[in-house]
Amino acid sequence: MVLFHVLKAGFFTTVQDLGRYGYLKYGVPISGAMDTFSMIVANLLVANNPNDACLEITLIGPELRALADTQIAVTGGEISVKINGREMPMWQTLTVHKGETVSLGKVEKGCRSYLSVRGGINTPIVLGSRSTYTRGKFGGIEGRPLKAGDIIHGFDVSSLETCLKMPENMIPQFSNEFTVHVVLGPQSYMFTDKGIETFLSSEYKVTLESDRMGYRLDGPVVEYKDKAEMVSDALLPGAVQVPRDGRPIVIMRDAQTTGGYPKIAVVVSSDLDLLGQAKPNSTIRFSRITLEEAHERFLEYRKKLSSLAQKLIAVS
């Protein structure tokens, strides 16, 4: 069922769901929403499955004309949402009528926003997911970002009777400074104590060479003991590589699945969403925690996600 006609695509807008799992061994990265939490909330606000496909909006949002009556929600980085010129709130179910124009502005805080549609976006499922993998040119809309003229399809579903909203105190706030928690290793032994100390106590700037594949950071050089290369092995989102020049690279969701730069630390799962909201010129600090602490946070995060649906408030 046709849902939207894309009038303006926005800076870099792709169809994403929670990711493509199980294919790393074939060289296929996980992809999926960079801020999973925000995407899940967007889906729950239109009573979708958490894994239904949404639009991930980067820095500048799209303009869409509705080709059918539908309901949407916009979450993630702070962005202005207008329906036929009228300002609408984020983090809430919004009703859109056929013919109306949905315009999203610039992401003012954070980097990425999410737009869900009731029933989810309908694109072919490729290797178990609707997430877009641009390097492989598959997933989402023809394996590429949105462009003007695209038609976004949905599913024929009943509309949600009760509109929902996210409680104010649960809405994540984003600034330009990020502190993320890491577990050291697997190759932390290749760095000097001074190098590790530098890494854990410095502020790193996200450079312009940053995208869904990874963030290149600028800041104090991380010192190696000896060699700065190793035999290529597997990468996962959150891994922090340090190339020979000593400036860390944080691996993100569309990255190559293997690499030969040693990894000093890995950002914990529960902080990946936050990381996904860091844009160029933001700063990142890395805070070390133990594996046990990381697992505690993991379980808390899981609990938070699974109880989200009940926390949403009905809006009259």
Binding site: Y26, G27, P186, D233, L291, A294
Partner: protein, 247 residues
């Protein structure tokens, strides 16, 4: 086609760890390392461990990624603890230790059009080694290669080992775009780009064969342990095949 013993490099004993190292990879993955070099014996251990772990169907393991010298195991911390996972994998590692590692790799012949526009680095590789281009080509397709891992981009096979006669370091400055199907050399590895990607490998030819298709199950043609032999084809043949396979 049996691998000749001369094609198998002697295992560098001091770079194979006597028993595997177990390292946390963040909070939801474990890396099991067998050594720190590219080595046939090490890679065979990775492949064997991977296959055995998958068959064991351990609750909590989400997926595995076999690489040159280590196996990454992604797990769900809500379903299995790190220590319990390590204990289970150690058991499996131990059970494999004294067993001879056979491989059930499949065998592939991959057609390649060498040189010209398809192999922009062939001339440099030849010059680097004081050989003619034809000699480089002959050496390249003159031996079997084993797939060590699939990584970098979807379906990209890392093949080893390239003869010292033509082993050449990567480009100083990688290309922004390497055409799909390109066959390259990087030191002692040879590989094939299944899709257009940036790359620093020395490109000596191109194959019309498709190595990856998201509609296949599994989506990649090759996997670790498979054996590959290249065979030269003409430009006409390449074009025919290429049309048929539509990259």
């Amino acid at each position: 086609m049996k691998l000749e013993s001369k094609d198998i490099e002697e295992a560098a004993l001091d770079q194979i760890y006597p028993s595997a190292r177990y390292l946390p990879f963040g909070d939801a993955a474990l890396v099991v390392e067998f050594g720190n070099v590219i080595d046939l014996a090490i890679n065979r251990k990775v492949v064997a461990l991977n296959e055995t772990v998958l068959r064991a169907n351990i609750q909590g393991i989400e997926e595995t990624v076999p690489t040159y010298r280590s196996l990454l195991i992604r797990y769900d911390p809500a379903k299995i603890t790190y220590n319990h996972l390590v204990a289970k994998i150690r058991e499996i590692e131990k059970s494999l230790m004294d067993r001879p590692l056979e491989e059930k790799g499949r065998k592939f012949i991959i057609p390649v059009v060498y040189g010209g526009v398809y192999g922009p680095d062939l001339k440099d590789v030849a010059e680097y080694h004081g050989l003619t281009e034809d000699q480089v080509i002959e050496v390249h397709y003159g031996r079997f290669y084993r797939v060590y891992m699939i990584g970098f981009v979807a379906g990209f096979p890392y093949l080893g080992e390239v003869s010292e006669e033509i082993a050449t370091p990567r480009l100083e400055t990688p290309r922004l775009k390497v055409p799909a199907g390109s066959v390259g050399i990087a030191d002692k590895q040879t590989g094939i780009y299944p899709c257009e990607a940036p790359g620093g490998w020395r490109i000596i030819g191109r194959t019309p064969l498709k190595l990856f298709d998201p509609n296949w199950q599994p989506p990649a043609l090759l996997r670790p342990g498979d054996i590959v032999k290249f065979t030269p084809i003409s430009e006409e043949e390449f074009k025919e095949f290429f049309e048929a396979n539509a990259h």
